[in-house]
């Protein structure tokens, strides 16, 4: 049984259709990176799973339970928002602890858990600070700590490295995989940076214009992109695309580029 199963999720806003029949499954402990350019509905997809938005059609199953109509607080997930969404009037400690206070937990347990996750993320020394006193990197780690602290089975990370500086992003890209594996959660990680996607994902789900166009291991997406659109999104510098005319010659299939012709392996015969 998959830990997370989305089937046929669609969502429209006044401006048009944002998600179109998205189906995706993730197994326990798997990190699935949802990758796509901005404006393709990645964030909306996470918000649907979190219960912050309601899908028009489709179902969301978490651990075999249909939560399509459940309130966010009854889904038992952890989420880090792209804009951090820290509570401005609470200290970093209370921000992180907020994920524990809803359940019946003793203050001592809360303290122990918060301090453990803070140590892991190296923010132990700023726990008493208000969010406005934190640097961007510390804010990002606090938001991450808040998502991780309750050991959620499902973890949703919405481009958590977007608003941090390049150096920290590089460091976190190295740290995060181990951190997420240690947490043991099933992770849905949204990003629009293909390097991040390649570095973090067990699988990459490529979202283009509200549709999932390819779901595969990073190397497969890189080597065998399902479409030109996917190919364009990966690689730096971006791949060169050259229009050619296929032709059948005596020596087999070939493509014509300007005045030159390029022989193709026999397997491409159907193209000509």
């Amino acid at each position: 049984m998959p830990q997370l199963a989305l089937s046929g999720l669609s969502k429209s806003f006044k401006t048009g259709k944002v998600l179109d029949a998205v189906s995706l499954e993730a197994d326990k402990g798997e990190i699935v990176v949802v990758f796509g350019p901005s404006g393709t509905g990645k964030t909306v997809l996470l918000r649907l799973i979190a219960g912050v938005e309601e899908p028009d059609t489709g179902t969301i199953m978490l651990e075999g339970r249909d939560v399509t109509d459940a309130a966010p607080e009854h889904r038992g997930i952890g989420m880090a928002f792209q804009n951090f969404a820290l509570f401005p009037h609470m200290s970093a400690f209370d921000n992180i602890a907020s994920a524990l206070t809803a359940k019946k937990t003793t203050p001592a347990t809360i303290r122990a858990k918060v301090e453990a996750v803070a140590k892991l993320l190296k923010i132990g020394h700023v726990l008493q600070h208000q969010p406005r006193e934190l640097s961007n990197g510390q804010k990002q780690r606090t938001a991450l700590a808040r998502a991780l602290v309750a050991d959620p089975h499902i973890l949703l990370l919405d481009d958590p490295l977007r608003n941090v500086d390049a150096k920290l992003r590089y460091e976190m890209r190295l740290e995060l995989p181990a951190l997420l594996k240690a947490a043991g959660s099933t992770v849905l990680y949204v990003t629009q940076d293909y390097k991040e996607a390649m570095a973090l994902g067990d699988r990459i789900a490529v979202l283009l214009d509200g549709r999932l166009v390819q779901v595969a291991a990073p190397a497969d997406v890189y080597r065998e992109p399902a479409s030109l659109g996917v190919a364009r999104l990966f690689g730096d510098p971006t791949i060169n695309l050259i229009p050619v005319e296929p032709a059948a010659t005596q020596t087999g299939p070939a493509v014509v580029i300007g005045a030159r012709s390029l022989q193709l392996p026999v397997g491409f015969a159907h193209a000509a």
């Binding site: 918000r47 219960g51 309130a71 607080e73 989420m79 820290l86 509570f87 401005p88 907020s98 809803a102």
Partner: protein
Amino acid sequence: MEQTSVFEKTIRAVLIALVLIFFLFPVLWIFLMSFQTNEDILRIPPSLFFTPTLDNYTALLTGKIKTATGTQEIAFLHNVLNSIYLSGASVIIALLLGVPAAYAFARFDFKMKEDIAFTLLSFRFAPPLLVLLPLSLFFEWAGLANTYSGLIWVYQLIAIPLILWIVRGYFEDISPDIEHAYRVAGHSWWATFTRIAVPLARPGIAAAGLLSFIFCWNNFVFALILASADKQPVTVGALNFVTAAGIQYGLVAAAVMLSITPTLLLALFAQRYLVEGLSLGAVKG
């Protein structure tokens, strides 16, 4: 850094002084009047030099006025208590009703939302005299005339629109994701409202509560028509000094001083909140 010349500073000081004199002179004049006898006040031409007397204040505080026609009982302190009770209760009720309403208007979409919000606002610019006649007839019929609860109800016309519109802007300024994050962390929407939304909108709520308190306190015409002597606030109470023996200007002045003191203190105390609250809510950050 901004450079200001001596000349500019002087002009500025003069202009500010002019504005202050324009607005504060009446208050100063009434302050002086409150220490004068009626004879001093009515002297022509008026004089800045007089022998100050505390008679007006003692009369108000003891509740006995000595006039040419004899001693008269007044209940001015009772009026002050009425004002505190009426305004205070009105603002508390308006906050209990208005803050959740403001939240609903800020966060949820429902049919006729803007129409309802605008209708509520329109209570503020409809002249009170327009509704007074039907209202007083209705109050007679419903047994609400001359009751505290009746007046408090009418004061909601003043307080709720103010609170609703100021606090709504505040709630709208809070990023919805902050509330979403609290929900996802496992808290109910009610907990989110009380522990996230309300604390973050507190400056706006304080400003709106304070303003509506002052507006309720200053109300005259509703209280004049809908309540009789023992339920009347200070604004109406000052009318009692128009006696058979003539208008007791000194007493009116002292009464005014006493009745503006609570709101003045409150406003001074909460000035920071007021300015912050009113400007922050208006401008999207």
